[in-house]
Symmetry: D2
Subunit: 339 residues, 4 copies
């Protein structure tokens, strides 16, 4: 089969590799669409040590496709079913797995990082990782289950309630999903702060009207005008140290800052413990997507979250490497590799 | 001033009474709109003992109006402000108040039940009970803050999450608010079971499409067709023993039945403790509206909940007694007394 | 190997069966102690249909032992390790597993019910089900991890807080573990209602001093004397319809009734929906023990829960059948089969 | 009456002032014991601007005494009752009060800071602020209800569960209360890090055996030896920037750092947003004590928390100023002014 194999920093080779053989309890998926995510770009650019990724390996962890073969012991899934993949395989016997905090698994094996992933014509996955798509759901939408499931985990942790005010820092694909989820969870005011005009316009088309350009204004002052006491929840979705710091100036007393963005590993921000205490603030990290794939799929199936408008670029497997180059990003929101 | 005074079962007299005098920490409200709720009808029909209501008294606890006088020590509210009223005054020093469960207050004094209420030209209320309305909010909408705040407390207790499935039993004013709140909290499937065709049509106009007529069908079978595992949350909003019982057949394993409806005090239902255990069901009562008025007002101000379509009947103070007679109900959803 | 094989209602045969063969990802455990639980007695007496148990099968799901062989791919566990077993194997791909509510798994396979269990010299278990015991922990204590884990799940659901008042209905092994857990969770007043004098005396030795004999008194009156407002949490741990009903008369407004006991499948109790609403009561079912084995083991390792005093009877494998006969129960609290 | 009046930084004068006159809804308390807390020392040393405290004023907010007069409308409390005081009076009508987050009240008036407090022979308090003591509870114990209520709020926020591991940074009065609360909430391992040998010995007498001297060792290494994965909850109770920073190195993935200590207002610490995300850490501020006084009193009444051993120094009103001087602190844990 054809696959885009990662050989090391800046080195992707589209080549012929052996098609995986079916195994007990597994299904063989003919990949149809696989999203490119920040993590893929990060790995490609050398941002992750060899401990995590051991090249040569096939990246791609946000994908959907068609089941073409099923192993012994597989029930509920048949050849011909369309499926979305949960790439995170938990060991089931480490300290964290046994506490139900599976996403903190000490032996986490993620498809598309540790195991071969979705930038290929076929991918072999355990049955438990494959979620059946409803009829008529486009593969591209199925490929968005994974990032939506991440955001849903964040929404759950942030405990947004009907009537809450929410600020989203960063209006990329993730920020725009978070904004939709905040609205879905009942937030009555939602501000998105995003420098790119194109992405702000997309936000507007998605129905958001409180949009801030952080480059052109005093964000704190603007938020205070729109939300007298600040926001019940601020979601850091830009992945920058400065927005992480900024969040603490925007949150209401008693409120929550959700650290969703993946900031540079070494970057530090300065915070006052006194403020955390006196304003009774919560700073909460959100990491991947335990137990949220089924609900994410349900939200897409019922049309309660829109992801197609976020997909601005599509690549074939042959030229997918373009999608991994940060400098080529421009006005892209979400890129899909169509296989 | 003119007021509709309750003198005992079936005895309302619209008469001239003394206008209340302003007091320290209080505001005098010129009532503009006051909703008629099931509790008012219940009291009028003799369904509540003299311990709770001591006639002669002025009923009406869902109201909004204009502030015409403020007492000493009142800050934040001025003459001319429009306000919605939280009728429930908590003592602040009983066991429950001190635990933060103020709505279970042992000395609860509710305006419109124990204290004179809103079926009158004027009503005197402590400043803490008056919530400023945003400009342009109709008084009728303001009068709906109280029932919405009740439902919001129920939504909070039921912990509806994005992607959940919800069944509402009863599509009266309360059921239709709950349906909107469930949607607002992210529920992806919402079934309303309601016998009256008129109310089902109203539900449809509000955007709900999974409507069941419980008289014409096997509700459990219909729910199972629409929601394979049953509902994450079932909200009893009909106030009947039979719907309370029915709820347990519709809820998903691990799910929640919210007892929101006020069933006849003596009615009992039969339940199997084995089922509660094995299906790990939660049955949760929801009583009035602690700490939810501000969020309810916010949701109305931002147009996230629609209440005007629910108001199907309007009465003047002079003929408001009609609105209290259960047999005159017909296709009414919500009735307002306009003063 | 020798095993006590269940052949059908009232028919246990201690016989020689084939020793299980090691498999990939599994460990072979030489069973040392296996508790007899209500479920075992229930199955033995014919209380469960053939759908659940398919004889001939080896019962016993509360056990600990020594690892004598490990399969390929097993890490973290070695030959010679002592282990306690989590008998509940979740499928990982059903609706409930995917929501993180694994214990409601549609394909639950429990060792000792569906799969061969601990009333035998050896038992083969997947590595994920085996929890390493700390040095010096007696096997009997290890065999109590499973029931303690069930109770801990109940404690979590009941959300007992420091300073709460708790009533436990039933002072058998489970009630006495719940009482200790309630104390451990900070409850400041704990009442145990238990008819057997012997079990009340055991409760006293465990440090509980608010003991009620329900046969000799008006339980509600006694609880009201000891806890003015009733209990924040009432735990039904007798497994009877009458105690389930009784719980609702003992719970404080705003409080929780935990349905922990396994009441006869067909028994019904009469409850007033009005009371659930007006007192804002929660009735919460608690089913088995998802994600609580590690914490249960930790509590035993640190001596924070005492289980040895609960073990009043010990049987050899050969005469373990006595332990399964309900009529032979007498003053037994917990029985262990020592192998 | 005699009172210790605060006239400004470093200026306390014990003088004769007018005894407060009884008012409607208030009780006059003859103060018997009033604790000295860090806030008092902070104000005395000039650490708080004039906005908060307007001298001349009587400080002291941790006190208990005897009711000698009651105003009109006071129920439940009689002359002769012993009471502990909740010093924090919430306005009831600001944004935060209306959300049930009363402790974040915009118009908070605290007795002993804004209003005259307990370093005097008498203090006038609203009935809602006075909690009746059980017979035989020493006044000194009653004076500890307030700080215990603060810590209990922190325990609630930290959500310590049975079986959790907890690290307390700082073994002063607050740290030693937190350690007891953690044990009460079921923590199975509790480490206290405290430089003073005297306070570590006191911790030992209170039953804690995992004690660290942070000056003499690598705290992180020690914690990792004692708790393999780090602590589920780390409580910062030293009030220092360096311990706040340190906490993040000690917490388990998925765990919580509780910011309880009041660090210097301007001090900043450096944190990595990446770590918050990847380890899914929560940093939670805890501010004063909403709704926790009743439970705190209950825990003291039932002897579940010991506070008498913490009271190492006692002063008369005349020489209480000594207790306010930070440099005179030495081996003091908690100081009481006995009046
Ligand atoms: N927690 C999880 O489990 C999880 C899962 C998936 C992704 N993530 C993380 O979520 C973050 C967002 O992902 P993404 O795919 O949406 O990335 P993205 O497309 O790079 O979006 C980030 C957006 O933030 C904007 N931005 C830059 N500076 C800003 C500022 N000062 N204020 C506000 N916005 C600013 C960027 O605009 P410009 O492009 O114009 O600079 C960009 O539009 C990433 O860090 C990603 O790694 C986390
Ligand atoms: N918990 C609280 O704090 C709180 C606050 C406010 C109200 N409530 C209670 O909430 C309940 C609903 O209030 P509401 O004002 O909406 O009352 P409502 O107008 O009487 O609505 C009840 C609806 O239930 C319908 N119904 C009757 N039988 C039914 C069945 N078998 N299945 C499904 N629906 C059925 C009724 O239809 P028909 O008219 O055709 O019979 C009616 O439309 C009442 O019990 C009220 O007291 C509770
Ligand atoms: N939820 C779960 O996951 C789970 C897990 C394990 C066990 N369980 C269930 O928990 C229950 C208790 O288990 P167990 O092993 O402790 O059973 P047990 O030994 O039979 O204990 C029940 C106790 O309740 C007492 N009792 C009888 N009538 C009573 C009354 N009116 N008021 C108060 N107490 C009364 C019994 O006394 P006498 O013997 O004198 O009648 C007995 O001591 C069982 O139903 C069991 O199936 C549930
Ligand atoms: N959140 C709230 O509502 C609330 C309420 C009350 C109090 N507080 C705060 O809680 C904190 C503790 O109060 P407290 O009365 O117990 O104060 P304290 O008596 O000053 O206790 C602090 C302890 O921390 C010790 N310490 C110093 N350096 C340390 C280090 N590197 N590692 C570990 N411990 C260290 C101190 O030891 P040495 O004396 O030897 O330096 C002292 O024993 C204060 O900041 C106080 O303001 C907060
Ligand atoms: Zn794991
Ligand atoms: Zn009260
Ligand atoms: Zn399953
Ligand atoms: Zn306030």
């Amino acid at each position: 089969m054809k696959a885009a194999v990662f050989y090391g920093t800046g080195d992707i080779r589209v080549e012929e590799v052996e098609k995986p053989k079916i195994k007990e309890g597994h299904v063989l998926v003919e990949v149809k669409a696989c999203g490119i995510c920040g993590t893929d770009m990060h790995i490609y650019s050398g941002g992750m040590g060899p401990s995590a990724v051991e090249p040569p390996t096939i990246l791609g962890h946000e994908f959907a496709g068609r089941v073409v073969e099923i192993g012994d012991g597989v029930s509920d899934i048949d050849v011909g079913d369309n499926v979305a993949i949960d790439p995170n395989i938990y060991c089931g016997h480490c300290h964290y797995c046994r506490m139900g905090k599976v996403h903190l698994c000490e032996n986490l094996k993620n498809i598309g990082v540790i195991l071969n992933g979705g930038f290929a014509e076929y991918c072999l996955v355990p049955q438990s990782q494959a979620y059946k798509l409803p009829p008529n759901m486009p593969y591209e939408v199925g490929a968005m289950v994974e990032p939506l499931a991440c955001c849903l985990h964040g929404t759950d942790l942030a405990q947004i309630k009907p009537g809450d005010s929410v600020v989203i820092l960063g209006g990329g694909a993730i920020g725009l999903i978070h904004a939709q989820l905040a609205r879905l969870a009942g937030a009555s005011s939602i501000i998105i702060s995003e420098p790119s005009q194109g992405r702000r316009q997309l936000a507007e088309r998605l129905g958001f009207d409180m949009l801030i350009d952080p480059t052109g204004c005093d964000v704190k002052a603007r938020v205070e005008t729109l939300m007298r006491y600040g926001a019940d929840v601020v979601i850091e979705a830009a992945g920058l140290a400065k927005t992480a710091r900024q969040a603490f100036g925007l949150v209401k007393n008693g409120g929550t800052v959700l650290q969703f963005g993946v900031v540079d590993e070494t970057a530090e921000i300065q915070l006052k413990p006194f403020e955390i205490y006196q304003k009774e603030i919560k700073w909460i990290g959100s990491f991947i997507n335990p137990y949220t794939h089924a609900r994410a799929l349900e939200l897409l199936a019922k049309g309660r979250i829109e992801v197609l408008p976020l997909i601005t670029h599509r690549y074939s497997l042959d030229n997918m490497e373009v999608g991994l180059k940060p400098d080529k990003r421009g006005d892209r929101v979400k890129a899909m590799v169509i296989i």
